[in-house]
């Protein structure tokens, strides 16, 4: 098992492999859109996504600038994602729609499932691999490694893991790609880079 690349996106910065890639201006009204523009990518679907899916999309877009995903076949990458507050941001939108605005919106409702973000990644990359979404109290590296082992036992070549959170208090996308090859897995390094590296 080998960590190929890690990346974390916070409202103020992007960190790749432990090094700060980008500092995000604090006066940006829509910081995710700012990051999207600064990455020079063209993917109009981004603008329709909810914040959770946008974070995941930005995460994989940053990773794409670091590594070449085309070396994997369309079934070879497993998606293992988790967070604490599920699809809170979109749930809240839909909740406010029907309780206060007295309306319902299909485009808000479809995002009220956290695994929509893995669907967005699969659509973006045309990946047909395994995918799973967990609700967890906190980021737990051991838990992710366990899930990666299960998929590697079934012959999956690589796993894209991610902790993507979007709620009232915080927004974060932390992703790491693990390959099914020999190597020393430095769990502490992943932890340090992805989680402790929070907003200063």
């Amino acid at each position: 098992m080998k960590v190929v690349v890690t990346c974390s996106i916070f409202p103020n910065k992007i960190v790749v492999n432990g090094k700060q890639l980008l500092s995000i201006p604090s006066n940006e009204a829509d910081w995710k859109k700012w990051v999207y523009s600064s990455l020079n990518i063209e993917y109009p679907k981004f603008h329709k996504m909810d914040s959770l899916a946008k974070l995941a999309f930005l995460g994989i877009s940053v990773l794409e600038q670091e590594i070449d995903f085309s070396t994997y076949k369309d079934e070879e990458v497993g998606l293992i994602f988790a967070n604490k507050s599920s699809s809170y941001s979109s749930d809240n939108k839909h909740f406010i729609n029907y309780t206060q605005k007295k309306m319902v919106s299909p485009s808000d409702f479809v995002y009220t499932l956290p695994n929509i973000l893995t669907g967005e990644i699969a659509i973006f990359k045309k990946w047909y691999g395994e995918n799973v979404f967990f609700i967890h109290k906190q980021f737990d590296i051991e838990f992710f490694i366990e899930q990666v082992e299960f998929l590697f036992n079934k012959g999956i070549k690589a796993c894209l893991c991610g902790w993507i959170e979007s709620n009232d208090k915080s927004e974060q996308a932390s992703l790491f790609l693990i390959e099914n090859v020999d190597g020393v897995l430095l769990k502490e390094e992943i932890l340090k880079e992805l989680i402790i590296n929070k907003i200063d």
Partner: protein
């Protein structure tokens, strides 16, 4: 030894649905061809009278009450020595959990009840993968047993009917005005349901009279659309293919398919295309959504329990609500509940986020 082939046994845990409070009560209702679906006045966002498969005894605190209701049967079917063992893991499969308490944490109460009232030792794991959650959770349970991390895994599939979900599906124009008619010519959409289902997966036989083994399973994404089913059934085809290979089963050996069959035009069409591509058209197949409605995160577990019933009694249940084929590809839908040898079952699920999952069970 191939760790993916270590024995994993399934047994009944509990089943609480509008059709009954135990596996046996649900079995009796299925044999009688009863539906748990009724129309409810003002259940819609603008006061429509949607049909729902609702558990009428529950009047408030739906999620917690429903979860607790499953413990009665669970305690009869699964010994305390397993439930309260440090070698046992609990996996919860749910989409919206206790959504009625939103914006408070919707997942907390279930975990607390399991720890404090049922006395489970290990921190439960929650799978929230839309409508495929139940099948994904059972596949994961088998992974845990084959890895020898746990001897038993209790999988709990649970979701309740809420304004949140009913109004949401209404906004998608996905709710049927009549009880759902999966795969039928007249189908117009889903009927939402609620329930809790529990299966036990174990490294050893936990039931001496009747025994079913889990062979293998998989998931696969459509990579097509977040809420619209694939037009080619690609994800479902790939998931079934992977599951067959991992199970070392030839598709001809399958006796019966428990499909997802929500009752929407596009989902059922997608499934028919996938089964056709795999030349599984002639296999007896049903959807149980006409009995239980679509119970979202509970569906895969409820339907797996019904697969166990089919295997135990060699009885395949008619696809309630179906009378004539309404998909472009012909399937062999079960129109009469009937006796037949059921040794190997394929269970499938598909859902939002482009998810597809499947698993294969074999009579021991």
């Amino acid at each position: 030894m191939d760790t993916n082939l270590k024995n994993v046994y399934l047994s009944y845990g509990a089943l609480v649905t509008p059709l009954g409070n135990t596996v046996e009560e649900n079995f009796a209702a299925l044999q009688e061809g009863k539906s748990g679906i009724k129309k409810y006045t003002n259940s819609g966002f603008t006061n429509e009278n949607w049909p729902l498969a609702k558990i009428e005894q529950i009047s408030e605190n739906r999620f917690d009450t429903l979860l607790r209701a499953s413990f009665i049967e669970l305690n009869q079917k699964v010994p305390r020595t397993i439930i309260n063992s440090s070698n046992t893991l609990v996996i919860i499969s749910t989409t919206k959990a206790n959504i009625d308490v939103f914006p408070n944490d919707t997942f907390e109460s279930g975990i607390e009840i399991l720890k404090n009232e049922l006395g489970v030792v290990n921190e439960p794991i929650i799978v929230s993968n839309a409508c495929i959650s139940g099948v994904v959770a059972i596949n994961l349970a088998a992974d845990y047993i084959r890895s020898e991390k746990f001897k038993d895994v209790i999988v709990i599939g649970i979701d309740v009917i809420s304004d949140f979900v009913v109004y949401g599906f209404q906004s998608l124009y996905a709710i049927s005005e009549q009880a759902a008619k999966p795969f039928d010519k007249e189908r117009t959409g889903i009927t939402l349901g609620e329930g809790v289902a529990i299966v036990l997966l174990s490294s050893e036989k936990r039931n001496s009279e009747f025994s079913v083994k889990y062979l293998n399973g998989s998931s696969s994404n459509d990579a097509n659309h977040i809420s619209g089913p694939s037009r080619t059934g690609e994800g479902l085809v790939r998931s079934i293919q992977k599951t067959l290979v991992r199970s070392h089963i030839n598709k001809d050996q399958i006796d019966f398919i428990s499909a997802h069959g929500t009752g929407t035009i596009y989902n059922d069409e997608m499934e028919s295309i996938a089964f056709d591509r795999l030349t599984l058209n002639s296999k007896p197949i049903n959807s149980l959504k006409g009995y239980f409605g679509h119970t979202l995160g509970a569906a895969g577990v409820i339907e797996t329990i019904v697969c166990l019933l089919s295997m135990e009694h060699n009885l395949i249940f008619k696809s309630l609500g179906y009378s004539s084929i309404g998909t472009s590809k012909i399937l062999n839908l079960i129109t009469d509940t009937s006796q037949t040898q059921v040794n190997i079952v394929l269970k499938t699920a598909s859902g939002f986020g482009g998810g597809n999952a499947s698993l294969i069970l074999i009579k021991d």
